[in-house]
Structure formats: structure tokens, C-alpha cells
């Protein structure tokens, strides 16, 4: 595929991923595989798109006081370990095995998109004067809603870290962000409000991608030119997806994108 084709694919994947809140690489890598790119080569390209998406969205989420750095770094120690192990092991996995894992990844991400609810934390009047953001020295914090301030504290950190380890391992093996696992784990298991979980995941997927990309670079698996073409498309694609998401019903958008992703997963499973 030529550079403009890769840029267009990066744009479409990031727009769809942003629209459905699943991240672009979860589309990009399976579609690259369906187009005949070997999965060992598609994984680093997917992670470059993940890193670009994380960087592009990170500033705004941080400015809104939604990103919890301490929580992100604590859970990321497990995710980065998983990513490094996944990337190291991936060279020993045959292409057919990686394609099967990609199909499973697409189906799991689609399921997460179809069933995600998100923890509904409520504002508490006694915290009305609290500034939005993380509280130093803790895994707690507060964020601001139009009707008040919502305090929160992460719990079940050990169990959540197991989920992060798995998400990281998938990222290292197949090149998707694992964000579709990380956000639900943070929200549903660790009790973190879904907006904070999503913003913190945006930060951590960048670190996961860096950890695995360093391994891929040392292994000589990164095609930087193809990656740059994808990044050139995926950054405006992420903006377009976010803009579309604001105009559409979030539930309808997420479910439509999840169904499309499920179709990609099924095609990957049944292809000869």
C-alpha cells in the first residue's frame, strides 16, 4: 500500500475508533492484516498510531483535571511489563497465531463497546470547593461536573493490575492499545469514574506503546516511513472522530462501531 493509502487508512481507523471510544489501532491492525500486511509488521504500526492518539488527546484531558497520573503509573507498571513480555514473545508466535489473537482482540473490544456501562459516581456537597484533579500521595481525587464535585478513590488495585497486565500483553503481541480493556477495568473493578478512567487510560496507552515499540525497534520491526504516513492520517482522524462523537448519540455511535469491529473480527476468524 502507498503512503497516501496508509494515511487514509490511519484517518478512517482513528475516526471510527474515536467515534466509538475504542481507539484507532483496534481497527487499524486487523484491517492492515486483512489487506495482507504480515501481523508482525502491522503491530508496530498500530502502536505508533496509539502513541500519536495518546499524545494528541493528552493535553486537553490533563487541562480538564481528568488524568490521574499516580493511578496511571501504578497500574502501568503491570501493563508495561505485559507489553514488554508480549512484544518479546510475539516474534516466536507464527503469523496464523497472531491473526487469531487479533480476531479475538477485535471481538473482545467489540463486546466491551457493546456492554460498557461505566461507574456513575455522584457529586458530594462537602467537596464543592475542591479543585478537580488527583490528590497528592494517594490514588484518590476529584473531578468536576456541572452540578458539583465528584470525589473518588481507586480500590482493588491488585486485581486491576492483573487486568492491566493482560491489556499490556495484548498490546505487545498484536499492536492494539489495550485501552478497551484498561478503561473498563479502571471503571468497573477499581471504581474510578469513567471519564477519569478514560483520560488516565489515554495517558497510559502512550506508555504501553512506548514500552513495546522500543522492543520492536531493537528487533528491527518498525517501518518508520509507513508509520509516519499512518500517523499523518490518524491525528486528524482522531479529531474527526471526537467531533462526530459530540454530534451523535454516544451509545448508538459506540454500538455501531462495536458491531463493525465484530464484523472485522469474524472476517479475520473465517478467512482462509
Amino acid at each position: 500500500m502507498d503512503d497516501l493509502g496508509l494515511a487514509a487508512l490511519g484517518f478512517a481507523s482513528a475516526a471510527l475508533g474515536g467515534l466509538g471510544g475504542l481507539g484507532g489501532a483496534v481497527f487499524l491492525v486487523p484491517v492492515l492484516a486483512l489487506l495482507g500486511v504480515p501481523p508482525h509488521d502491522a503491530a508496530p504500526l498500530g502502536l505508533l498510531a496509539v502513541a500519536a492518539g495518546s499524545l494528541a488527546a493528552g493535553g486537553s484531558q490533563l487541562a480538564e483535571g481528568l488524568t490521574h497520573h499516580r493511578l496511571g503509573i501504578v497500574t502501568e507498571t503491570a501493563a508495561a511489563a505485559g507489553a514488554v513480555l508480549g512484544a518479546l514473545v510475539s516474534v516466536a508466535v507464527p503469523p496464523g497465531g497472531l491473526l487469531g489473537l487479533l480476531a479475538v482482540t477485535a471481538l473482545v473490544a467489540a463486546l466491551a463497546g457493546l456492554t460498557r456501562r461505566g461507574m456513575r459516581n455522584l457529586p458530594e456537597p462537602m467537596f464543592a470547593m475542591e479543585r478537580a484533579g488527583e490528590w497528592p500521595g494517594t490514588l484518590a481525587g476529584a473531578y468536576r461536573l456541572p452540578n458539583g464535585v465528584v470525589p473518588y478513590r481507586a480500590r482493588h488495585v491488585a486485581l486491576g493490575s492483573v487486568g492491566m497486565l493482560l491489556a499490556g500483553a495484548f498490546a505487545g503481541l498484536v499492536g492494539t492499545s489495550g485501552g478497551f480493556v484498561k478503561t473498563p477495568v479502571m471503571s468497573e473493578i477499581m471504581g474510578v469514574p469513567v471519564k477519569v478512567a478514560a483520560a488516565t487510560t489515554t495517558f497510559t496507552v502512550g506508555v504501553t506503546a512506548s514500552a513495546a515499540l522500543l522492543v520492536f525497534i531493537v528487533q528491527g520491526r518498525l517501518d518508520a516511513l509507513a508509520g509516519a504516513a499512518i500517523v499523518a492520517g490518524s491525528i486528524p482522524g482522531g479529531w474527526a472522530g471526537a467531533a462526530l462523537q459530540r454530534r451523535l448519540s454516544p451509545v448508538l455511535a459506540r454500538r455501531s462501531v462495536a458491531l463493525l469491529l465484530a464484523a472485522v473480527g469474524v472476517v479475520l476468524l473465517v478467512r482462509p
Partner: protein
């Protein structure tokens, strides 16, 4: 938003813009300079999250928030160990 957070937000936005410009440049340049620019872009993408983790860890250590400062440094250690393991094993796809 604190001064430090505002500075981090500015840095992230500037780096994001730089990555986008470099990525678009690779589409317009001839092959060899394009490859160098693409490598610079990949370096920025890989290095920025790690620099962010390192900076946060140092700030927390300086302020006495020792457990989280050490967690940040441990995270960087894991990432570095992965690259070293890849070099030592010498496996390629």
C-alpha cells in the same frame, strides 16, 4: 490548573503539533530525508510518554511523595529492561 500542569499541557500540545508536522513532511519529502524525518517522529512518539513519566517521578521524589516517585522510576526500569532483553535475545520476526 497549577503552573506545572499548565506547562505540561503546553508541552504535550507542542509535541503533538511537532509530530503531526513531521508526519506530514514525510509524505512530501524525497525518500532519504523522509526516512530521517520519520525516525525523528517515531523518536518523539516513543520518548514523550517516557519523559513525562520520568519528570513526574522526579517531581514527586523532590516533594517527598516517595512511593509514587519510586513507582515512576520502576516503570522506566521495566521499559528499559524490555529493550535490553530484546537486544540480548537478538530475536527478530
Amino acid at each position: 490548573v497549577s503552573d506545572e500542569t499548565a506547562a505540561l499541557v503546553r508541552a504535550l500540545r507542542l509535541t503533538g503539533a511537532a509530530v503531526f508536522v513531521l508526519a506530514v513532511l514525510t509524505l512530501t519529502l524525497p525518500a532519504e530525508p523522509a526516512r530521517s524525518v520519520a525516525l525523528a517522529m517515531a523518536g518523539l512518539l516513543v520518548g514523550t510518554p517516557l519523559a513525562r513519566v520520568g519528570a513526574l517521578g522526579l517531581v514527586w521524589l523532590r516533594r517527598g511523595d516517595r512511593p509514587f516517585g519510586l513507582a515512576a522510576l520502576a516503570l522506566l526500569g521495566i521499559v528499559l529492561a524490555g529493550a535490553v532483553a530484546a537486544a540480548v535475545t537478538g530475536l527478530t520476526a
